[in-house]
Amino acid sequence: MWALTASIEGLVVVSVVVVAGPVTHWLPLPWWVVALVVLVVAGYVAVVPRWRYAVHRWEVTGTAVYTQTGWWARERRIAPMSRIQTVDHAEGAIARLFGLATVTVTTASAAGALEIEGLDRTRALLLVDELTLMADSVPGDAT
């Protein structure tokens, strides 16, 4: 999924540069700039999704949720079960193509949302149920 998203992004960038540069002469870009951009984008598409996949992981225990995301800048987030406020399940267009889904866990803090991307759909639904039940069983108003 990430590979496809990255490819699409890359394709857009490349086509913009190509159109802006030699094709329309709107921007006076020499051919080697275009080649450089294509090279960089190709590298991005080849490396970053794999890197992302390698970094990405999540874990749910009885008392907390943990996620690790990113590639260049890695971010690890931990939220205790007792502070979970909502559990969202979302499927983007590309994700649905692959039967994947994203689960978002939000807390009372705007800085504390945990996103688990690219889960298998059935697994995601299971996780949502599980989290909702567990968050429900903890008393308190989660702030």
């Binding site: 800085a111 504390g112 945990l114």
Partner: protein, 487 residues
């Protein structure tokens, strides 16, 4: 208190005026259209005045509220009826504001903060127009401080923690607020002058010609001094209008009480913060204030809109001793304010320097290369070199500021130079932890530790903490949470 109550009838005077102001453009348009069409259709010009007044009256008639069965309910609207209802135990803050017109009529406007993150105006519980006494009564009902206060009426119920002192005005010009106000005023003024074709009449060319006869060395300092005077005057004015009569008091027993803030010269504001919702304080010391030995304090509190951060200002710019005392009182222990901070080590220092000096050096290089090539003035590289020196000084100061500690059950973090902040957050107020590190940071074993919280800025950030220290801090403040994920 189960029957529906209305706002004060005196609002019948205010609502129509407010609506009229909102409809002013329409009224103007109608008026102009009317005169343009030769003054035949007189009656529909009146429409522009009658409709807003009617709307104002309607708004009064249709707005009702009640407190019943542990919920506060607000009902308003004629065509699309809107009912808002919130359980009383979700009420976190109560804000009582009285703009000048309201004060003239002895009215106030009450805003109930429930910690919702929705931004729409429609979703707020605003009771605009209650008599002062009823507003206070309502606040007491809402925050359940009332029984305790009634019970020990004999004991001094309010202990003032902070009383405004007019000499604090000297700190006003040292904050950036003055600059912001000045920029706003200048912008408005230039726009006004522009609208009325003033620039044509003022003859800026003649001014310029006049100024040319002066020496640059006279003109520039003169302009600077003039600007400084204007900025100071405006910021002092803003400070006085906002903070006149600032009073911070605490009611109720030790922990179960509430903090009351009162301030304002023209528009008076009263904010009440429930004790349980105050998660910590944030002591701000911008460069100017720091040099003059001052500071200010915000409360990290749940339930206030992020936009209304002004309501959480516990101490306006004031001397450091006052700041320290008030912040200590709010935290109930001066520990987090005095505790020695653990520095973030040499790698963090290197990062501060590279990040500050790097761009400045780049600018210097570019300028130095450009001078021989193009016809840039010779003094630009000197200016750029000065920029590098300033950047280095900033980096040194930023390094000095970095630090964190865990004192008396509070996570304490300090950072920044131009805008230095020391945040002290209760460990119970920490919702979760985020650890963020880029590849550069990982290489030298640093991480940015973020404690997320539901109040204030939503997060307390410790920049570039060495990884073991970061984990130690997070683990000691929430023992069971992190350990299970440490491989």
């Amino acid at each position: 208190m189960s029957e529906w109550q209305r706002l004060d009838p005196r609002m019948l005077l205010i609502y129509p005026v407010k609506e009229l102001v909102r409809f002013l453009p329409v009224v103007f348009a109608l008026f102009i259209a009317g005169t343009a069409s030769g003054g035949t259709g007189k009656w529909w010009q009146l429409l522009g005045i009658v409709v807003p007044i009617g709307l104002g009256v309607l708004r009064y008639v249709t707005t009702r509220y009640r407190i019943d069965a542990g919920r506060i309910e607000l009902r308003r609207g004629l065509l699309s009826r809107h009912v808002l209802s919130t359980p009383l135990d979700r009420v976190r803050t109560v804000d009582i504001t009285a703009p000048p017109v309201h004060r003239l009529l002895g009215l106030t406007s009450v805003r109930v903060g429930t910690g919702t993150t929705s931004i729409g105006d429609d979703d707020r519980i605003d009771l605009d127009g209650l008599p002062v006494e009823r507003a206070r009564q309502l606040r007491a009902d809402l925050l359940r401080v009332a029984p305790e206060r009634v019970a020990d009426e004999t004991a001094p119920p309010e202990q003032p923690v902070l009383v405004f002192d007019p000499t604090w005005v000297r700190f006003a010009p040292l904050t950036s607020t003055g600059l912001v106000i000045t920029a706003g005023v200048l912008g408005l003024a230039s726009q006004a002058v522009n609208t009325f074709g003033g620039f044509g009449r003022l003859h800026p060319e003649r001014w310029a010609a006049d100024a040319e006869t002066w020496s640059v060395w006279v003109a520039i300092p003169l302009a600077l001094v003039g600007l400084a005077v204007v900025v100071s005057a405006l910021s002092i004015g803003g400070y006085v209008v906002n903070n006149w009569g600032f009073l911070l008091t605490h009611t109720g027993p030790g922990r179960g009480g509430a903090w009351h803030l009162r301030r304002g010269l023209l528009t008076t504001r009263e904010t009440t913060l429930d004790d349980e919702r105050v998660l910590g304080v944030s002591v701000g010391e911008p460069l100017g204030l720091r040099l003059a030995g001052g500071g200010r304090v915000w409360a990290i509190v749940t339930g206030l809109d992020q936009g209304a951060s002004g309501s959480a200002l516990l101490v306006p710019p004031a001397p450091r001793a006052v700041v320290h005392r008030a912040a200590g009182a709010v935290l109930r222990t001066p520990g987090p304010l005095d505790a020695p901070l653990t520095g973030h080590g040499p790698h963090a220092r290197t990062r501060r320097y590279t990040r500050a000096v790097g761009p400045a050096l780049l600018v210097l290089l570019v300028v130095a290369v450009l001078v021989p090539v193009t016809d840039l003035p010779v003094w630009t590289p000197i200016l750029a070199a000065l920029g590098v020196a300033v950047a280095a000084a900033l980096a040194a100061d930023r390094t000095r500021a970095l630090g964190h500690a865990l004192a008396d059950g509070h996570v304490v973090v300090r950072s920044g130079s131009l805008n230095r902040r020391r945040d002290a957050l209760e460990t119970d107020g920490v919702i979760g932890w985020n650890l963020r590190d880029t590849w550069f940071q990982r290489r030298v074993g640093l991480t940015t530790l973020v404690a997320t919280t539901s109040g204030g800025r939503q997060a307390v950030t410790a920049l570039d903490v060495p990884e073991p220290l970061a984990l130690a801090l997070a683990c000691t403040s929430n023992p069971q949470l992190l350990v299970q994920f440490l491989e």
